[in-house]
Symmetry: C2
Subunit: 151 residues, 2 copies
């Protein structure tokens, strides 16, 4: 493979990683003590794609080991932000439901970022973030669909 392709993709993923880290830091600094991105992300996911999913569904969506998700969900459940119920279709499995408190928490966290988004949208006025975002969504969908292919 040619050097240019390698360097293009490597640079791309590097930029993605830096922006991801910067945005994580911003969001995390707005979350209450003890709450991490992992917790927020699961709640946000459940509201975006709908709740009642299994832990496996969620761990696959985030591309993290199921054992990590067990732990994250246990924390959320302890804080009454989600409820775990038996999966009526599969005795081994569970269904995860977000609680009213969980919805509030997520909405409040998003609202808490308003000053940051205000500031950033001013600073980034010269960029077409919406269009870049659409491109990224396309790239993400393809990467997501091919995630298990290897070699």
């Amino acid at each position: 493979m040619d050097d240019k392709t390698r360097s293009t993709y490597f640079t791309f993923f590097n930029e993605i990683g830096i922006i991801s880290q910067l945005s994580r830091t911003i969001l995390e600094s707005r979350l209450p003590d003890g709450m991490l991105i992992s917790h927020f992300s699961v709640l946000n996911h459940l509201m975006r794609v709908g709740d009642g999913r299994t832990p496996q569904d969620i761990s696959r969506a985030f591309q993290v080991p199921k054992t990590s998700m067990t732990h994250t969900l246990a924390v959320l459940e302890k804080h009454n932000l989600v409820e775990m119920k038996p999966n009526p279709k599969d005795g081994r499995s569970k269904n995860v439901w977000i609680t009213a408190k969980g919805r509030e928490f997520r909405d409040h966290a998003i609202a808490g970022m308003d000053p940051d988004i205000e500031r950033l949208s001013g600073l980034l006025a010269e960029f077409d973030v919406a269009t870049v975002s659409e491109q990224l969504a396309g790239i993400r969908k393809i990467m997501d669909a091919s995630r298990d292919e290897k070699d």
Copy 2:
């Protein structure tokens, strides 16, 4: 602030986060056992921007606590991938130098991703990754420069 701006930025950072996680998983699966993204990233950083930096410089670059960097550097040093020397300009500080073995490790890790980049560059042919990357670099630079402003 209007809902559209909020949702644009929120979607943008969400896409960034997903792609970041997908690319991290790909890279990490190519690293030898026990080596994580954090280790690779530091070596890569030292080669990109030059070594001899202080631990603080590096922790600030990655926007992680200095105590996390202490640990990461200790692991790298134990594996002889970096060397820590006293900072001649500041008795409290250190300088971090990448070793020949560290350079090899980083180059080898990058080469190990070739099959993935090959595959992705085929799948993503319809996207102008280089141009998106340039946009991201611009966004990243501004975010990076304004990272400590708040409220």
